[in-house]
């Protein structure tokens, strides 16, 4: 028996929009049933990776394999049979649901696009359990998106994404537009569905607390490239790359006593332009620990456990300096 292919395999993915090098050589594998969080600041290219995977855009170079099938350059027609294997949920449900369609039509849309001719009755029969699965009553199928709250709309997006029983779900900032209490219900829902159905998930977000809650593995992206990958436990306990360390130290925790004892690593404000990324290590212009070699030599990926870190200072055993404990005068200069 041949081993089952991974849900997603991205190799050396490059996506350039004209002169903008949005994604510049990303390799990432998500085994079946695992949740990988792709984190980074706005402009890091994390959403573009998601858009390449669902082939909303055609990558400039590299390969994207979904369940073993290379979909990188398939035409729209040849892509169609594979569309059901991967779905996407976007940040703003108000913008990603057609206001003129009934919720029932929206949820059933992937079936129609897959070329399945189904009667209205059959459609309703397929939609009802999907709505129930995301915690909505069946009558919601006869409503329009504007009649629903933000949290309910995001549930509709999730129901639509899951009706084709995809092997892989791309969740692009699915909770960022929602209030805290609604975020909790959507995160709970995603966690429940993932556990029950067992799809793999690429969870794209900048919210590190949501990452720790939902992800099995983490990939950290900076200016179009991955700087670190690893298990959730390892990354949160022992981040190796200075950027990952800075990112984790900057996210405030909702506990004033602990928060006041934390010293965020202040990076300069300017994310360099993706038109002309820095030579060598792309993080060097903001890295408190950068030295001569960082400008001249692209750091190799040092293996750490199942993951890696791309930094000259990370030693082969996975240890390295920590920007959080480095000399503050040096860090702040």
């Amino acid at each position: 028996m041949t081993p089952q292919p991974n849900a997603l395999e991205i190799a050396d993915l490059v996506m350039h929009f004209g002169p903008v090098r949005a994604v510049d050589g990303v390799s990432l594998t998500i085994p079946r049933g695992r949740v990988t969080a792709l984190v980074g600041e706005s402009g890091s290219g994390k959403s573009t990776v998601g858009r390449c995977v669902v082939r909303l855009v055609e990558p400039t170079a590299g390969t994207v394999r979904i369940a073993g099938t290379d979909v990188t350059h398939l035409s729209r027609r040849r892509l169609r049979p594979h569309r059901g294997a991967v779905s996407i949920v976007f940040q703003d449900p108000a913008a990603s649901l057609d206001p003129r369609m009934l919720v029932g039509e929206i949820v059933a849309e992937p079936l129609r696009l897959a070329g399945k001719r189904i009667s209205r009755r059959e459609r309703d029969a397929r939609v009802a359990p999907q709505l129930e699965r995301v915690g909505l009553r069946a009558e919601v199928a006869r409503r329009y998106p504007h009649e629903l709250s933000g949290g309910q709309r995001q549930r509709v997006s999730i129901a639509r994404a899951l009706i084709s029983e995809p092997m892989l779900l791309i969740a692009d900032e699915p909770t960022s537009a929602l209030d805290v209490s609604v975020q909790a219900s959507v995160l709970n829902l995603l966690a429940d569905l993932q556990r029950d159905i067992g799809f793999a998930c690429l969870f794209i977000t900048h919210d590190l607390s949501a990452v720790e809650y939902l992800a099995d593995d983490i990939a950290v992206m900076y200016l179009g490239q991955l700087v670190e990958t690893g298990s959730r436990e390892r990354i949160f306990a022992r981040p190796a790359h200075p950027y990952t360390q800075a990112l984790l130290s900057a996210a405030p925790v909702a506990d004033p006593v602990r928060q006041r004892h934390r010293q965020p690593v202040l990076l300069g404000d300017d994310l360099p332009s993706a038109l002309d990324p820095p030579s060598g290590c792309r993080f060097r212009t903001r890295c408190p620990l950068a030295f001569d070699r960082c400008a001249t030599e692209v750091p190799a990926q040092t293996a750490i456990g199942d993951g890696m870190a791309a930094c000259h200072l990370v030693r082969p055993d996975g240890t390295g300096p920590d920007v959080r404990t480095a000399d503050p005068s040096e860090v702040l200069s």
């Binding site: 219900s185 709970n188 607390s209 809650y213 405030p252 006041r260 404000d269």
Partner: protein
């Protein structure tokens, strides 16, 4: 950090309602709050809880259709019902604002130096040259590197974090006593957010500015606020020093908010987030009842029959408006810390 001196800003029984096509909407109901000199107060709640309307009403920034009642005293001067000309003298000089999205608040066709200078020319009657020199100082104060060059930049040439620093420089140009920051870091990345919060703290420490920071992010509150006000459906439901509020939330809404956000070290495999069912109501009038009752696990007849007063619930300066406040047992957040 509470001081014995008179508060700089004194809000008493502030209410705001708006007439709409479908009837009146009550946005703020009877909010009272003091802001001491050099104090940072965080105002927290979900969208639609009246946080921003409260903030905007302080200096008369709401549209003319808004009905504002109650009292807002800034250093003794009554602002509710004040003439527009009087308000204009106060805005910028005594109370200044920064908002969520700096790009929409900045003029794209003027250099940042001109925009900061404009405030000084209007309020302080400075010459253009003096205003420019002061603009450079202000940009340095808010942590913009090579301010002497950046003063001639246009907003589009700056990053989001730099633009927000420019907004702060503009807001503090005339040394206001109160700075109202409405979701100042929501549009920014965490690494940039940390820098902006540091600037706000520095201003308080160096200039003694009082800051009212409005946010939905409990991490931001934990980081910067001395005291916290929790708003729900237009009312203050709980007010406490930050440490107390996070350690011992007494109102059920506050407790719900705290346990709805993922705690460090928790994972979906072993742990569920607490949901608050339902939505923030949009109210035509403020009922004589607890407006959180429909979403509250502890609600009973009393909650639906009478509005709970904001009462002392023990601790120092800790008040909550709840008939059945949470027991002072360890919270989930505290247990996670152990």
């Amino acid at each position: 950090m509470t001081t014995a001196s008179a508060p700089v800003l004194e809000i008493r029984d502030l209410s705001v309602s708006f007439p709409t096509e479908t009837g009146t909407v009550s946005a703020v109901d009877g909010v009272s709050l003091d802001l001491a000199a050099g104090e940072i107060v965080g105002m927290v709640g979900e969208s639609g809880c009246g946080k921003s309307v409260t903030a905007m009403s302080l200096a008369g920034l709401l549209p003319g259709s808004a009905r504002v009642t109650g009292s807002v005293r800034l250093d003794g001067t009554q602002l509710v019902g004040a003439r527009e000309s009087a308000l204009r003298r106060v805005r910028g000089r005594e109370i200044a604002y920064i908002f969520q999205e700096p790009m929409t608040s900045l003029n794209p066709v003027l250099s940042v130096g001109r925009q900061i200078g404009e405030v000084l020319q209007v309020h302080e009657r400075m010459s253009r040259r003096a205003a420019r020199a002061r603009a450079v100082e202000l940009l340095t104060l808010v942590g913009i590197p090579s301010a002497a060059q950046r003063v001639d930049s246009y907003p589009h040439q700056l990053s989001g974090g730099m633009r927000q620093r420019v907004m702060i420089a503009m807001a503090v140009a005339c040394g206001p006593k109160v700075l109202v920051a409405d979701e100042p870091t929501t549009a920014l990345d965490v690494t940039v957010q940390a820098g902006i919060l540091q600037v706000l703290r520095d201003l308080r420490d160096r200039l003694g500015t009082s800051v009212l920071i409005i946010t939905h992010d409990l991490g931001v509150i934990a980081d910067i606020a001395d005291r916290v006000v929790v708003m729900y459906a237009g009312r203050v439901v709980e007010r406490a020093p930050a440490d107390d509020l996070f350690a011992q939330p007494r109102h059920r809404y506050t407790a719900g908010l705290l346990s709805a956000s993922p705690q460090p070290g928790r994972h979906a495999g072993t742990d569920r987030l607490t949901e608050i069912p339902g939505l923030v109501p949009v109210l035509a009038s403020q009922p004589d009842a607890c407006t959180f009752a429909d979403r509250c696990p502890a609600a009973d007849e009393q909650c639906r029959a009478a509005a709970p007063p904001l009462e002392d619930v023990g601790g120092t300066d800790h008040v909550a408006a709840c008939w059945h406040p949470c027991a002072t047992a360890p919270t989930a957040a505290q247990e996670a810390n152990r």
